[in-house]
């Protein structure tokens, strides 16, 4: 059986190889800090395996994460000079290979899809090939490796360092934004542990006029969006707002249909995700990947839609839940 953890080790190894390349990259004025940051990320990816199955203490990993925060937070990381092909070379290569260039790029989703649907059902010796429940992420991993092999054969590229170097350029461009989503998950779990949700619930209960169900609907949806904007993640806002208003006010005393209230409540949170730099993986990472000068460009493109959809969600919840 192929385990999800093996895939995480592979990613850890990729980070470590990239860190070694960064360490040797003399065009990067902050090469030591940069190499340390990505090297620690690689180590953390591998060490996490034993934290997840509880056979190793999680404190050292926590310390490692704090060191990474310091390295990136106080600007000890940078990026080297990008060495790539010239625009002229790329155009010539595009003419030469034509639409064959799409084959490896499309291999990733096709293989991922096959893994998540077909390979999922294949069992060898009574065991599934892929670890149960991890088919999608393993599919992405297998798809990427197959695509890399196909790409190197197709382009007759012999050196494995070339794609890793190219990937490293993008990783350096994203920088710390790449770690933020994971860190927000940490913050969410700490909020959960220390009872931030119940506190918000107490405040809203004190402020909210009782019996006004549609006001509560608005407060629930707006609260989901606002809390998501702060936390960067609707998953973190959901338990907080649901414990505060969604369940006690809308469902228990208001008699709302739980399926409608909760499904639409989560979607109201997604409207918040569209508007916040804290949702780094959806907003800042794409801005970095697309080499935008304005890192808030994607957010600006999304805000009007988010506002309109928030109104839609309030309307849908009001119309269908009660």
């Amino acid at each position: 059986m192929i385990r999800a953890e093996w895939f995480y080790w592979l990613i850890g190894a990729v980070f470590l190889v990239m860190a070694a390349q960064m360490f040797l990259d003399r065009t990067n004025p902050k090469r030591l800090g940069t190499a340390a940051f990505w090297g620690l990320l690689g180590v953390g990816f591998v060490y996490s395996t034993w934290v997840v199955d509880k056979s190793a203490p999680s404190e050292p990993l926590g310390a490692l994460v704090l060191v990474m925060i310091v390295l990136a937070g106080f600007n000890f990381t940078g990026r080297g000079k990008v060495s790539t092909t010239t625009p002229g070379q790329r155009t010539a290569s595009a003419v030469r290979f034509g639409s064959k260039l799409f084959i490896p790029a499309l291999t990733i989703p096709v293989v991922a899809m096959l893994c998540a649907t077909l390979v999922k059902k294949i069992h060898v010796g009574g065991e599934p090939i892929f670890q149960d429940g991890s088919e999608t992420i393993l599919g992405l991993g297998v798809g990427s490796l197959v695509a890399l092999a196909v790409g190197m054969l197709l382009l007759r590229e012999k050196k494995i360092t070339v794609p890793i170097h190219a990937g490293r350029n993008m990783v350096e461009a994203m920088g710390w934004a790449l770690l933020l989503p994971q860190l927000l998950a940490v913050l969410g779990s700490i909020f959960q542990k220390t009872g931030v949700g119940t506190q918000v619930g107490r405040i809203t209960e004190a402020v909210l006029p009782s019996g006004m169900i549609y006001v509560s609907v608005i407060v629930y949806c707006l609260g989901m969006a606002l809390f998501t904007i702060i936390m960067g993640n609707a998953f973190a806002a959901f338990p907080v707002m649901t414990a505060a208003i969604g369940w006690p006010v809308l469902i228990e005393s208001g008699g709302g249909d739980p399926a409608v209230v909760l499904a639409v409540g989560m979607l109201a949170g997604f409207c918040g995700t569209l508007c916040t730099p804290m949702a780094a993986n959806y907003n800042l990472v794409p801005a970095a990947l697309l080499e935008l000068k304005d890192q808030y460009g994607p957010i600006k493109a999304q805000i009007p839609t988010a506002g309109a959809l928030l109104l839609c969600n309030i309307a849908i919840l009001s119309l269908f839940a009660f």
Binding site: A63, A94, P109, I137, M170, Q182, F238, P286, G297
Partner: protein, 235 residues
């Protein structure tokens, strides 16, 4: 009450535009300590949180192959391909992508797109090429705008498509939370069904905005194009 200071730290850090990594780190430590966790427990929380959320970072595995293909002209080929379709404008192309992204996500195929796998190498260059075909090289402002909207179409499509699928993280989170906290038996199917109305709204609202982009572009760039052409000839 005092644990809410953690939320205040996030808002303050956000407002003063500190490095988000630092803000989140400090808010986590502050909330943990104020909430009665020992320093050791705070460290452990950081470790556990990092370990259990690694899946959000796995897209990195796609970067080497995308980077390799870009070296060999993937973006250029994406542009060349799109410029052959005469009637395909930026807005129409992005609306098409939005719809496809919603449908595939609703079928559970969320990894089909994404900023690294599809937006940077394919969608953004194609959206730009559709505009360049008509207006020539895009001014900086519009290039940024088209790229931003390429990312936006991908994100909106993903968000308001995926919840129509049963086995997606957010649906499982809802059922998991409610069924354990309140002893309920919520079925993922019911939740997924109630995600459909918002998904339909999302397609019409965002699609209309993307199509409006074409009209804005026509207005601004047709006017600017004339002056640009004058400058070119004056050189």
């Amino acid at each position: 009450m005092i644990v809410l200071l953690g939320v205040a730290v996030v808002i303050a850090g956000f407002a003063t535009r500190r490095n988000p990594l630092l803000v989140v780190g400090i808010a986590g430590i502050a909330t943990g300590l104020l909430g009665g966790l020992s320093p050791r427990e705070v460290l452990a929380s950081f470790g556990e949180g990092f370990a259990s959320s690694r899946s959000v970072t796995i897209f990195v595995i796609t970067l080497p192959v995308i980077g390799l293909l870009e070296r060999y002209g993937l973006q250029e080929q994406a542009r060349r391909l799109i410029s052959r379709f005469a009637r395909l404008t930026t807005g129409r192309f992005l609306t098409l992508y939005l719809g496809l992204r919603q449908i595939t996500s609703a079928l559970g195929l969320t990894t089909l797109g994404g900023p690294a796998q599809s937006v940077r190498p394919l969608v953004a260059p194609m959206a730009e090429a559709a505009a360049e075909k008509k207006y020539g090289p895009l001014p900086e402002k519009w290039r940024e705008k088209v790229r931003s909207h390429s990312s936006g179409a991908d994100t909106v499509g993903l968000f308001f498509g995926e919840d129509c699928f049963l086995a997606i993280g957010s649906i499982l989170l809802i059922t998991g939370f409610v069924n354990t906290t309140y002893n309920q038996h919520l079925e993922p199917l019911h939740l997924a069904l109630w995600a459909i109305p918002t998904a339909v709204c999302a397609f019409f609202i965002h699609g209309a905005r993307l199509l409006r982009l074409d009209r804005q572009m026509a207005r601004e760039l047709a006017a600017a194009g004339a002056t640009e052409a004058d400058k070119e000839s004056a050189k």
